[in-house]
């Protein structure tokens, strides 16, 4: 303390004179933020490797593409309902009256360099984003990764999914073409159907009766600022919690609940993740370039009286549309008030479903009495009941999804619309039950082949990880401990 300049402090000064810029900058940052200490730990962080862990990564990278393409689109899109007469380079629409929103989206597609690629890549990235999230959700479900200590991250993840769904719909609605207008009208009716508060809620959200004068501007702010901002915050939390907990791993030799076995972040895992980012982006842009999506110039601008037959919403909304279709014509009326029909399939059903999902980790712990910490994943076959529930949910979802194209199905198969409806109405109960039963049996059968009895607490197994596609599984070698 008494010494003014201890020798230890002189050495860094020497380093600062290092001519190479990177060590100099690193030292500069370290003296102010202590970055070397922190980053050293980060570089040595271990990530387990398995193909199923990459699903969440795809979602993250699709989000990166969404942000990039989205920023590009904001430079050209005008979220305004004011009408203009089209006079651009897409001649079939010449002289047609349309909103500025639709007009700017058309201009963006035909007259802005690379505009169409960016718009289509943005749309494709949104579809990939939600697909990856859904797949990731099922992976987490089937492996029981949501158990203690990860319940909070399960909740954060579900919230991310809901926000992603909402933002997908908001973006879809902005273009003000015939399809998005119809979709919007349906969502308006869904909100309107909420008992007691529905009329107020729609009025406040839409700024009045459908279509609502302030709607586009409001949805635009939500779509490009508020929802993405919340997404970024929650995504950061999702990953921070992941880093703090350290990733789960499949059981295998040398893998225990108190360790984590895999690759170091630097350089191998970082390189793999980086490669994956580029590959995800490559696929999205390839789709954006060659696979036409949402050709709004064909749909035309929104007209309240316009009809669009055989149309489907984006895939992630399909299950709700399917539910709306196959719901029989029932509604609840008493004392001059009513709970309209759409409330049940489009508000109550998803409400119950997501509440159950949010509560799932706690319900499971209550039923199994298992409140212990888990870092080793379950194999689906070892948890026949959970797997059966997951399969039933998947089947339920798929039946609803297919019901959303009931009109196309009936046209293709030459069945009457009524027959198709009844098939779906029965399937929605029968298919999940049957598939859950089959899944359960299958799990038990697989267990018997393994020669294991269904045990609550399982020993790590030798033949894990089973689905690893990285050639000789890393588990084959005994892990070496990282020197600290």
């Amino acid at each position: 303390m008494a010494t003014r300049e201890p020798p230890a402090q002189r050495r860094p000064e020497h380093h600062l004179r290092d001519a190479r810029p990177i060590p100099r900058a690193a030292r500069w940052a370290d003296r102010r933020l202590g970055t070397a200490k922190i980053l050293r730990k980060a570089l040595d962080k271990i990530f387990p490797d398995h193909w199923s862990f990459m699903l969440g990564e795809i979602a993250l990278y699709a989000f990166v593409v969404l942000l990039g393409t989205g920023v590009f689109l904001t430079f050209f899109f005008k979220a305004s309902p004011d009408t203009v007469t089209y006079a651009g380079s897409y001649h079939p629409l010449d002289g047609v009256t349309m909103s500025k929103a639709y007009e700017s989206a058309i201009r963006l597609s035909f007259d802005v360099r690379a505009g169409l690629v960016m718009r289509q890549a943005h749309h494709w990235a949104a579809l990939v984003f939600l697909a990856a999230i859904t797949a990731h959700l099922f992976r987490v479900w089937f492996t029981g990764a949501y158990r203690r200590p990860r319940e909070i991250n399960w909740i954060v993840g579900l919230t991310l999914m809901l926000l992603a769904l909402a933002n997908g719909f908001l973006g879809y609605s902005l273009l003000d073409d015939q399809l998005s207008g119809s979709g919007l009208r349906i969502v308006y009716a869904v909100v309107l159907s909420i008992p007691l508060v529905g009329t107020w809620l729609t009025s406040l959200v839409f700024g009045g009766e459908f279509p609502g004068p302030d709607l586009l501007e409001r949805f635009y702010v939500l779509h490009i600022l508020i929802v993405p901002a919340v997404l970024v915050v929650l995504l950061t939390a999702h990953m921070a919690i992941l880093v703090y907990h350290k990733h789960t791993q499949y059981p295998g030799p040398g893998r225990r609940d108190d360790n984590v076995v895999g690759e170091r972040l630097w350089p191998t895992y970082m390189a793999k993740a980086g490669a994956f980012l580029f590959l995800t982006a490559a696929v999205v842009f390839l789709l954006g370039g060659v696979a036409q999506i949402n050709p709004i110039w064909i749909f035309g601008p929104f007209r309240p009286g316009g009809v669009s037959a055989a149309t489907q919403p984006d895939w992630y909304m399909g299950w709700l549309d399917g539910a709306l279709r196959i719901m029989p014509g029932w509604e609840f009326r008493a004392f001059g008030y009513e709970i309209p029909n759409p409330f049940f399939p489009a508000v109550l059903m998803p409400g119950v479903l997501f509440t159950a999902l949010y509560a799932a980790p706690f319900i499971e712990a209550r039923f199994t009495g298992d409140h212990a910490e888990h870092h080793l994943l379950d194999r689906p076959r070892d948890r026949p009941v959970r797997t059966a529930i997951g399969v039933a949910a998947l089947a339920f979802y798929l039946v609803l999804f297919m019901a959303a194209s009931s009109d196309v199905v009936s046209a293709r198969l030459g069945l009457s619309v009524n027959t198709v409806f009844w098939i779906f109405r029965i399937s929605i109960f029968a298919v999940p039950l049957v598939s859950a039963f089959i899944a359960n049996r299958l799990c038990l059968e697989l267990q018997r082949r393994d020669g294991t009895t269904p045990a609550r607490r399982r020993r790590p197994r030798r033949d894990q990880p089973s689905g690893d596609e990285h050639g000789p599984a890393p588990a084959a070698a005994e892990p070496q401990t990282v020197a600290d």
């Binding site: 959200v205 490669a275 060659v290 009809v307 029989p328």
Partner: protein, 268 residues
């Protein structure tokens, strides 16, 4: 890695032309090239584990929890001693929060009657086509359907109307609506009573209207009663008459609120 350089050059070249498919493919080649390059690099030349790391404990030890509780309570006592100040503070923040809620009211008008009336209200409005021209009964042949609007309100969201020319004898008018038609011409709201989609598909043979969104089916001859699908309410009917010049007019508003149902739509 060589593919990366080549593809970047290609991309710059092609951007001059600006052709969507080519742009997409080239972007994919560039990004894919980089991705494949890094992946190969990582797999061939980077160290591979498995490495192991201990997880450590997530929860705090009892001693740490106790220390926290102690510190927290020590600080809390300081606040509790000034109880009045604390209450004032809570009150101020609470009322600020309440006041902040009020602007929500400005987001939209009171729903009121808006959902229950259309521009037809009051009656006497001519029915006009998309281009604003009025309609005479002879303009719509038997089995014909056209979309009409209240004059001066073309493309108003709650006003699209279907004007249908039924075959004679096909219509069984409801009680009190016997004089709502002109020469077998009937008019119904085009908005589905399920979710407000335009009900656009008319099967003249059967006299059925089909909604393209969720396949609700309405029997036009029977007051547009829903006979299949999720819809529960009949399509609202519009009372028709002729004005002095022989054009079709509506003598009043629809028989019930149009479009999707809501909490108090029965209180008309």
């Amino acid at each position: 890695v060589a593919s990366v350089v080549a593809s970047i050059a290609l991309f710059v070249l092609y951007l001059r032309g600006g052709q969507p498919q080519a742009e997409g493919v080239l972007l994919a080649v560039v990004l894919g090239g980089i991705g494949v390059g890094i992946a190969l690099w990582a797999n061939r030349f980077m160290p591979h584990g498995p490495f192991e790391e201990p997880r450590g404990q997530i929860g705090s030890s009892d001693a740490e929890v106790e220390a926290f509780v102690e510190d927290f309570e020590a600080g809390g006592e300081e606040i509790a001693r000034r109880g009045f100040l604390a209450k004032l503070f809570a009150g101020a923040v609470g009322f600020l929060g309440l006041a902040a809620l009020l602007p929500i009211r400005s987001l939209g008008p009171r729903p009121g009657r808006g959902l229950k009336v259309t521009p037809y209200e009051g009656g006497g409005k001519r029915l006009v086509r998309d281009d604003g021209t009025p309609v005479k009964p002879a303009d719509v042949g038997v089995d014909g359907v056209i979309t009409v609007w209240p004059e001066g309100n073309v493309n108003v969201a709650d006003a699209p109307t279907l004007l249908i020319h039924l075959r004679s004898g096909q219509n069984k008018p409801r009680e009190g609506r016997q004089d709502w038609l002109v020469d077998d011409l009937v008019a119904y709201s085009k908005l589905c009573s399920h979710m407000g989609c335009p009900v656009g598909l008319y099967q003249a043979q059967l006299g059925l209207l089909l909604c393209p969104c969720h396949q609700s089916t309405f029997d036009v001859g029977d007051g547009c009663r829903p006979i299949f699908g999720p819809a529960t309410r009949s399509l609202p009917q519009l009372p028709l008459a002729l004005d002095g010049q022989g054009y079709l007019i509506a003598t009043g508003d629809f028989s019930s609120p149009v479009s999707a149902g809501f909490w108090d739509s029965g209180k008309y």
